[in-house]
Amino acid sequence: MTGPDAAWAPHTDGMSGVVERMSDALAPRFAAVRRALGAPERTPRTAVVLGRVLGAGLVICFGTGVYSHLLQHPLGWLPLPTRPVDLYAWTQGLHVAVGTALLPVLLGKLWVVYPRLFTWPPARSVAQIAERASIAVLVASALLQVLMGTLNTFQWYPWPFSFTATHFALSWVLVGAMVVHIGVKLPVIAQYWRRGAETPAATPAAGGEEP
C-alpha cells in the first residue's frame, strides 16, 4: 500500500488489516455522499460570507451578554454606567434580536459546510483530530446557545441545569471555539474575503480547497 494512507496501515494482517479494508470500503462511499451533497451555494466563498456575519453577530451577543452579566455581578473595582438611562434596554434588546437573527444564519452556515462532515479518513494527524474536535464544540455550543436563549424568552427551561450559569459559561466556550476556528481557517478566509476569488473547481463538496 502506498500514498498517504500507508501510515495508517503499516501491517497488512490482523486488526490493522481489517481497519484498512474498512477504510478502503468507506472512502469511496463517503466521497459519493459528498458529491451527492454538492450544491451551488456550498463553496468556501459562501462559507466566508456567512462566517463573517456569524462572527460579527457573535461578538455583539457576547459583548452585550457579558455586560448583562456584569450588571448582575459587578466587579467591585469597575464602576458601571448609569447613563443613558435606557442603555441596558438597548444592549439587552440587541442581544436578543441579534441572537434571534443568527438562527437562520447559523443554520445556513452549517448547511453550506455540511459535506465536510463526510471527510474520510476522519483525521490524518493529531492536529486534525484537535481541529475537528474544536469544530464539534463550536457547532454544538452555537446551536445550544441559540436554543437556550430562545427558550429563555419563552420562560421554558426543559434542561436540568441553571440557565444563567450555563448560558454565560458556554458563551466563553463558543467564542473561544470561534477564535480557534478563525485561526485555523485564516488562509481560506483571506483568499475568499473579496468577491471574484471563486474558483469553480474548488468546492468543499470535493474537499479540494483545504491548504
Binding site: 451555494e41 448582575q72 464602576p79 448609569t82 434580536a97
Partner: protein, 197 residues
C-alpha cells in the same frame, strides 16, 4: 444565481424573523410584533410583568396595613410607612424596565429619592446598598446596588407609576427603580434597605 439566491434566502429569513419578534424591544418594530413573547405596553399600568405578586408569594405581606420600609444606617434604624413616604418630597423619573429576556417598556415613576432615604440614616455615599424584598425565596429576593446607582438622582423608591399607585404586580407598596439596571435588580415589594456588608 444559486449562490446569491441562497444568501438572499438566508438574509430574508433573518430579516423576517427579527421583524416579527423584535417589537417587544424596539419601538420601531412594535407594529410588526406578531411572534414576540411579550408586547410593549401590555400589562397592568401599561407595563409587562416578569414575576407576579402571587408567583413571588407576597400578596398578603404586600397588602398588610402594618407594612413599613425598614431603613438601616449608622445613625440607627428607621421604619417608614407608605403614608409617611408619600408625605416626603417626591421626585419623578422616566425610566425603562428592561428584562434579560430582551423586552423593555418605559414608564413615568414617582417616589422618594433613594439618596434622600440613605442620607436620613447616615449611610455614607460610597457604600454599596443592599435591598431586600418581602419575597421570601428566589435568587433576586435581595439585591445589591453599587453607589453610582444608589446616589443617582433618578434612582427612586417608587410609589406610583404612570400616574397611579403601584399595582401589586409592579411592586406595591414600594419598589426600587434605577437607570440602566436589569429588571431583576429593580427589586419589588421592598422590605429593607441598608448598607451591604
Amino acid at each position: 444565481m444559486g449562490r446569491r439566491g441562497f444568501l438572499v434566502g438566508i438574509g430574508a429569513s433573518a430579516a423576517a424573523l427579527v421583524a416579527v419578534t423584535a417589537g417587544q424591544s424596539f419601538d420601531l418594530l412594535a407594529p410588526l410584533n406578531l411572534f414576540a413573547p411579550r408586547v410593549k405596553g401590555a400589562g397592568p399600568q401599561a407595563l409587562p410583568v416578569n414575576r407576579t405578586a402571587r408567583q413571588a408569594g407576597v400578596t398578603a405581606a404586600a397588602q398588610s396595613e402594618t407594612w413599613a420600609l425598614e431603613l438601616i444606617g449608622p445613625s440607627g434604624t428607621v421604619s417608614i410607612t407608605r403614608p409617611e413616604l408619600e408625605r416626603m418630597p417626591q421626585a419623578s423619573a422616566r425610566l425603562p424596565i428592561a428584562c434579560v429576556e430582551g423586552w423593555s417598556t418605559t414608564a413615568e415613576w414617582e417616589g422618594v429619592r433613594l439618596r434622600d432615604l440613605l442620607d436620613r440614616v447616615g449611610v455614607p455615599p460610597d457604600r454599596t446598598i443592599r435591598l431586600e424584598s418581602l419575597q421570601a425565596h428566589g435568587p433576586y429576593r435581595a439585591t445589591t446596588m453599587p453607589p453610582e446607582y444608589a446616589r443617582d438622582p433618578l434612582t427612586l423608591v417608587a410609589l406610583r407609576v404612570n400616574g397611579e399607585p403601584l399595582d401589586l404586580d409592579h411592586g406595591y407598596p414600594a419598589r426600587i427603580i434605577a437607570p440602566g439596571r436589569p429588571g431583576v435588580l429593580q427589586t419589588k415589594w421592598l422590605a429593607r434597605i441598608g448598607p451591604d456588608r
